[in-house]
């Protein structure tokens, strides 16, 4: 064990590069790049997702090779939270010796195999990463090119799934090719320097340890001579004694701790072996292997008769260090249980037993961190609950949320050098449960992760019981249009989505180009679209999105996620966060929490993810006093990693200047577009395109309605509504005849009149004699006083006088008051609340001329 010391004395600092991105499912923070700084060395190594890395294993001569799939921060771990998910490669020497003959040829020294075994735990701690390496994919019959035959390059020809060697699938090949194309780009010039030492460190250390481990390694690859410079560096580095969270501990207490560790290991392996007893054969094999490993250190022997070589492979790995063994043995369990799940034995029955055993072993595991005992207790509660897996899945999500919250405030302390080993040791042990947090078997996760709270919580997932939002469907299908007019009416309905939007080609093109360019550049941006209602703003954007989605399907543009929110469909501005978050990730949260989560998602680095296109309709409704909602919406796209395209729609052209603070409008930018109201020719074109191949309207009629509407508002909705109404009128007027004819100008005029004529004049004409008299009195009073306002008392006396002049019986005060309030309720008059009684002030809501005109008519 002492042989590890040399390597561990160098301290590496790992830090993320770029902003985190929120992983949708697991709510982890994912990153795209990490930089490794080796203390005492001025160089930095940048490792990106997708690159190939060396990972320290028990055989330092041949470190593991893997491809980084994801870098993420696991908040559930208190100590070292930087983790990575990898795709393993396997060396020939790591293949079970009994199976090595399957290859049928002598492997090349630098040949590795794509490890196609999904049950393998693919989560690693970032601190085990040694450095980047180059991997080249070759066809099975290709000869390894000589120019690349240095030790930093590995070659992949085949994949190994534990049973068979297979050629790489074409998809994998394509992936490799892509990576190779990117290869030089990824390896930034400055990393060149750092690359070799990091690699050589491992190499050198490996050399020293080699002798000790040679016994346990069944197959040896000839060692490569170490580079002298690297050795120098190594020695230099060995002076720095800053303890890394993990490594320092190993160095200083490696030998001291070993008894304790072995003891713990013993308990672990014992529990596992106990648990295995009721399980099928395949699993049993692993526990003796484990036991044997610790007792004799001879693995090869067991591997020989092991049927499941991945387990053997895993066991090989466990030799890294005693501490590592503990967790790997744990992870080792998970694959077996995963296998078991697929087998006929129902795992629900098995698990309690497993838990029982664990519980029984609890006293032995006393020196384990408290979280483990929590876990055990938790498991005992599981035993009684016998829940279904579905619920567990819910719980896992919940838990992840919770832990994220819980650990958020605690600073990342894995790098803090002040931490001494007493503190460090339990902290690291506590890491064990978290190791499995991201594995493939979620049913284990809650039991491991959840701090013992109420077991009830497991039964009651936080998500409210899902109810489907649905209006009940009709029992009888809706009738299809039977006549030409009905068909026309259907097509003229505003809700009918036309195949294309005529007259908005230019706007369409502009928006399309804007969004497309952002998608291609993988950047973000804002656009402000304004225009009076009914000018096709939302329809055009929808059309753009539809076209882009089609383009994305044929992979002309990168795929993107489309989210739509409408200010009018929110109960209050901050709800916009909740809606965006729910549509983005499916999570439900309160407005404040959602805002925080979204900020985290958009403002921090995340793994390569598709661009999000966000449409915000009725933007002006998102105005708040502090304007924080608008600010956030426009601020997110400015972050490089957010990849957010925000399209905003509102009615007023000068909204940014009018209601936004300068810091908000500045972020909105100057990409603006204004939709002009439709002209009459455009409206005509719209109608014609909708009524294509359908002769329902006279041409003149269409022109008339287009001109009418263009003169009034240019609102396409109005235009369609009028036409629709006209078809009804036409149908109605032709009811007696058999064949309803075309919609004529007369029909349309009637429809226009119905919709736009003022109803005040007809209302006055149809009012009672007394009401008309009262209106006359109002006019007289206004004329007398020269004001536009009068009290009720004045009008009443005027009314009485008028009645006297005409010799009519004059009405009582109460009657007149009733008349007045009746006119007021129709809003022919504007009046104060009626508590003022006689002194109530009255105004006309119609122009005097209208009243005179209406009264004179009779």
């Amino acid at each position: 064990m002492a042989s590890y010391n040399t390597r561990q004395k160098t301290r590496k600092t790992y830090s993320w590069v770029g902003r985190p991105l929120l992983d949708r499912k697991l709510s982890h923070q994912t990153y795209k790049e990490i930089s490794v700084k080796i203390e005492g060395c001025s160089t930095q190594t940048h490792i990106q997702v997708g690159q190939f890395v060396l990972i320290e294993g028990e055989d330092d001569q041949n470190p593991y090779i893997a491809k980084l799939i994801e870098l993420f921060e696991d908040d559930s771990k208190p100590c070292s939270r930087k983790c990575a998910r990898v795709q393993w490669f396997i060396r020939f020497c790591e293949v079970a010796p009994c199976k090595q003959h399957f290859l049928g040829r002598k492997p090349d020294a630098q040949e590795i195999f794509w490890y196609d075994y999904p049950a393998c735990d693919d989560n690693i701690n970032i601190e085990t990463v040694i450095g980047p390496v180059r991997v080249v994919a070759l066809a099975p019959d290709e000869v390894i090119p000589m120019d690349l035959k240095n030790e930093k390059t590995f070659f992949v020809k085949l994949s190994w799934n534990g049973k068979k060697f297979r050629p790489l699938s074409p998809e994998l090949f394509a992936e490799f090719d892509k990576l190779q194309g990117e290869g030089p780009k990824c390896q930034k010039p400055r990393t060149k320097n750092a690359e070799s030492p990091s690699w050589c460190t491992a190499e050198n250390v490996a050399k020293r340890i080699e002798s000790r481990h040679s016994a346990s390694i069944p197959c040896q690859i000839p060692t490569h001579p170490a580079i002298p410079t690297a050795r120098k560096k190594l020695e230099f580095r060995s002076f720095s004694r800053t303890p890394d969270a993990k490594i320092s501990q190993k160095t200083s207490c490696g030998s001291l701790d070993s008894p304790r560790k072995t003891k713990r290991k013993a308990t672990f392996s014992e529990t596992t072996s106990h648990s295995k007893r009721p399980q099928p054969d395949g699993i049993k094999t692993s526990s003796p292997a484990l036991k044997a490993l610790e007792k004799t250190g001879e693995v090869g022997l067991f591997c020989a008769d092991d049927k499941e070589s991945p387990e053997c492979h895993m066991i090989l790995r466990t030799r890294v260090s005693a501490v590592k063994t503990t967790w790997i043995s744990e992870t080792n369990l998970t694959p077996t249980r995963g296998g078991q799940r697929s087998s006929a034995v129902p795992y629900v029955d098995l698990k309690p037993e497993y838990i029982k055993k664990r519980e029984a072993k609890e006293p032995e595991a006393q020196n384990e961190a408290t979280s483990i005992s929590h876990r055990v207790r938790r498991k005992s509660s599981l035993l009684t609950l016998n829940r279904i897996r579905q619920q567990l899945r819910f719980l896992e999500n919940d838990k992840n949320d919770q832990e994220e919250k819980e650990f958020l405030p605690s600073a990342e302390d894995s790098d803090s050098s002040s931490e001494d080993e007493e503190v460090c040791a339990p902290a690291r042990e506590r890491r064990n449960p978290c190791r499995t947090s991201r594995n493939l078997w979620p049913f284990l996760v809650p039991s491991v992760q959840t701090p013992s709270k109420t077991p009830k919580k497991a039964l009651k997932p936080r998500t409210p019981h899902r109810v489907t939002a649905k209006i009940r469907s009709r029992s009888l299908a809706a009738q299809e249009p039977a006549s030409v007019l009905e068909e026309a009416r259907l097509r003229l309905h505003v809700s009918a989505v036309p195949e294309s939007l005529p007259c908005r080609e230019q706007e369409f093109q502009d928006i399309y180009n804007f969004v497309e360019s952002k998608l291609l550049d993988q950047t973000g941006g804002c656009m402000y679209i304004s225009g009076v209602p009914g000018t096709g703003k939302t329809a055009t954007v929808h059309e753009v999105i539809r076209c882009l989605q089609q383009a994305a399907q044929t992979s002309d543009v990168p795929p993107f996620q489309y989210i739509e929110v409408n200010g009018m469909k929110l109960t209050e501005p901050h709800q916009v966060y909740v809606q965006i978050l729910e549509k983005l990730t499916g999570q439900k949260a309160t407005a404040n929490h959602a805002a925080a989560l979204l900020a985290k998602q958009f403002c921090t680095r995340r793994s390569p993810q598709e661009t999000t296109v966000l449409l915000v309709d009725e933007l002006d409704l998102l105005w708040t006093h502090k304007q924080d909602v608008m600010y956030n919406l426009f601020d997110w796209p400015t972050h490089k990693e957010a990849r957010l395209v925000v399209l905003t729609i509102a009615n007023t052209m000068d909204l940014p200047e009018r209601i936004m603070m300068s810091r908000v409008s500045s972020r909105l930018g100057l990409t603006r577009m204004s939709f002009q109201p439709y002209t009459h020719s455009q409206l005509q074109q719209i109608l014609v395109s909708r009524l294509k191949h359908l002769k329902a309207f006279e041409d003149d009629a269409i022109q008339l309605v287009a001109r009418k509407v263009a003169a009034l508002s240019g609102d396409a909705r109005r235009c369609l509504d009028i036409c629709r109404r006209a078809t009804e009128i036409c149908e109605f007027s032709h009811q007696k005849q058999d064949s309803p004819g075309l919609v004529t100008v007369a029909h349309l005029m009637e429809a226009v009149d119905e919709m736009f004529s003022s109803s005040y004049i007809t209302a006055i004409k149809n009012s009672s004699v007394l009401e008309q008299g009262f209106l006359r009195a109002i006019l007289a009073e206004f004329h007398r006083s020269g004001l536009e306002e009068a009290t009720f008392q004045q009008i009443y006396s005027q009314h009485v006088a008028l009645c006297r002049m005409e010799g009519l019986p004059y009405p009582t005060m109460s009657e007149t008051m009733a008349v007045c309030s009746r006119l007021g309720s129709c809003r022919l008059l504007l009046m104060e609340p009626s508590r003022n009684d006689l002194l109530l002030r009255v105004r006309l809501n119609v122009s005097r001329d209208d009243v005179l005109y209406a009264l004179k008519e009779e």
Partner: protein, 424 residues
């Protein structure tokens, strides 16, 4: 408005019952007659008080056609629509929609395939309540029993989601009836209206949004984006009938239906109504009433008061009944309370009667309670009651009229009135 008018209706109703009861008790021999009468009263009162869709519609055939066609298209073809029914109070808006819905539900293929949601602006005073009510009436899945769970925002997105999922052909059409539509326009941001109209203009669940309002300027109340989504269909109910029609309506409203059990009595009653409608004095009364107000509800009121005078001993309506009813209806409310007013006026006129101060103050307060006088706005609390500035809420003519009606009026008050009021 509405409630104020409803109140006397109820009171009269109760009084009517008493009369019937009493008459029944008094004349046991006239039992059969009494039974008939009580049935008559029941039928007619129902007709006058409730907006039952059984009664006929008058002069709104065109509007009715428009509405029923529109509803049918929504129900059968799944076409979304929005319409406003505008008309002054008492013009039969609710009656119209009730009629239309009744006819609609009688169509076999429709009755199963339609959902109705009634909202009233006076009850659903904000969107939150309205939303709960809609969810409840639609029986969505977040309704348990009669309770709707979840926050406002949740319910809102849930409902929108529900409506959005539907499509024209397969979803059940929903008819939204918004009574007192103008009050919905005062909700914050007009969120509810926007969404209802938006649904009616997008390919979602078919809806028919029907608003009832008495405000002619309703379109000006709508925000422009809401207005744009509204289809601008308006059905105006204007009471656009003349006096001959009014009389006809009066006759029809008082006539008994042919299903009346006692055919003989029904015939006699109807004959009486016919002769009434031709009577000169009745026509005068009706004309006066017609001149004051054309709406049918006031006609119902008049008939109701007259109907209450029908007893076993007085089995048929007479012209005198109607005249008296008309008088009751058009009575000046303030004239009745002038008595109290006298005392105060006496005091003011420095009459020979020297009332004590508390008595005068009491009278003064009483006047204030009756709202015949009213303090000038915003009187400070500190000012003494004796020196508060008051406003008189009566017209001179009203005072004169009431004084003339008041038989025991002291002469000095009368003198004061003639001198000072005519001078004023």
């Amino acid at each position: 408005m509405e409630s104020r008018r409803c109140l006397p209706k109820g009171r009269l109703f109760a009084r009517g019952f008493e009369f019937v009861e009493m008459s029944n008790r008094k004349s046991k021999n006239n039992l059969l007659h009494g039974e008939c009468l009580s049935q008559v009263q029941r039928i007619l009162r129902e007709r006058f008080c409730h907006q039952t869709p059984h009664s006929n519609l008058f002069g709104v055939q065109v509007q009715y056609r428009h509405l029923i066609e529109l509803l049918k298209r929504t129900a059968i073809h799944g076409e979304s629509n929005s319409v406003l029914i505008v008309g002054p109070r008492g013009s039969g808006k609710t009656m119209l929609i009730n009629h239309a819905l009744k006819e609609l539900m009688e169509i076999e293929e429709v009755s199963e395939n339609i959902l109705q949601v009634y909202l009233n602006g006076l009850l659903q005073i904000n969107d939150k309540i309205a939303l709960k009510e809609i969810t409840r009436q639609l029986h969505l899945e977040n309704v348990v029993g009669d309770k709707v769970f979840g926050s406002f925002a949740e319910n809102f997105s849930f409902l929108l989601e529900a409506l959005k999922k539907g499509d024209r052909t397969s979803s059940c059409p929903v008819i939204f009836i918004l009574d007192e539509f103008d009050l919905f326009a005062h909700h914050k941001n007009q969120t509810l209206l926007y969404n209802l109209f938006d649904i009616s203009q997008s390919p979602q669940t078919p809806v028919a949004v029907i608003g009832l309002t008495c405000r002619l300027d309703i379109l000006e109340l709508l925000e422009k984006r809401v207005k744009s989504r509204f289809s601008h269909r308006q059905i105006h109910l204007m009471n656009s009938f003349g006096f001959p029609q009014y009389v006809k309506i009066f006759k029809e409203q008082l006539s008994l239906p042919v299903e009346f059990p006692d055919k003989l009595f029904a015939e006699k009653w109807n004959e009486n109504v016919q002769s009434l409608s031709e009577d000169k004095s009745v026509r005068d009364v009706l004309l006066k009433h017609f001149n004051v107000s054309k709406d049918l509800r006031s006609l119902h009121m008049l008939s109701m008061v007259a109907l209450n005078r029908v007893t076993a001993s007085h089995p048929f309506l007479t012209a005198a009944d109607l005249m008296e009813a008309a008088q009751l209806c058009s009575m000046d409310s303030k004239a009745n309370v002038v008595h109290e007013f006298q005392k105060f006026v006496q005091r003011k006129a420095h009459s020979i009667y020297n009332f004590e101060k508390p008595v005068v103050m009491k009278a003064f307060e009483h006047l204030q309670q009756l709202e015949l006088i009213k303090p000038v706005e915003r009187t400070s609390v500190n000012s003494q009651r004796e020196y508060q500035l008051m406003k008189l809420l009566l017209d001179n003519t009203q005072i004169m009229n009431s004084l003339q009606k008041y038989p025991n009026c002291p002469t000095d008050v009368r003198q004061w009135a003639t001198s000072s009021l005519s001078w004023l």
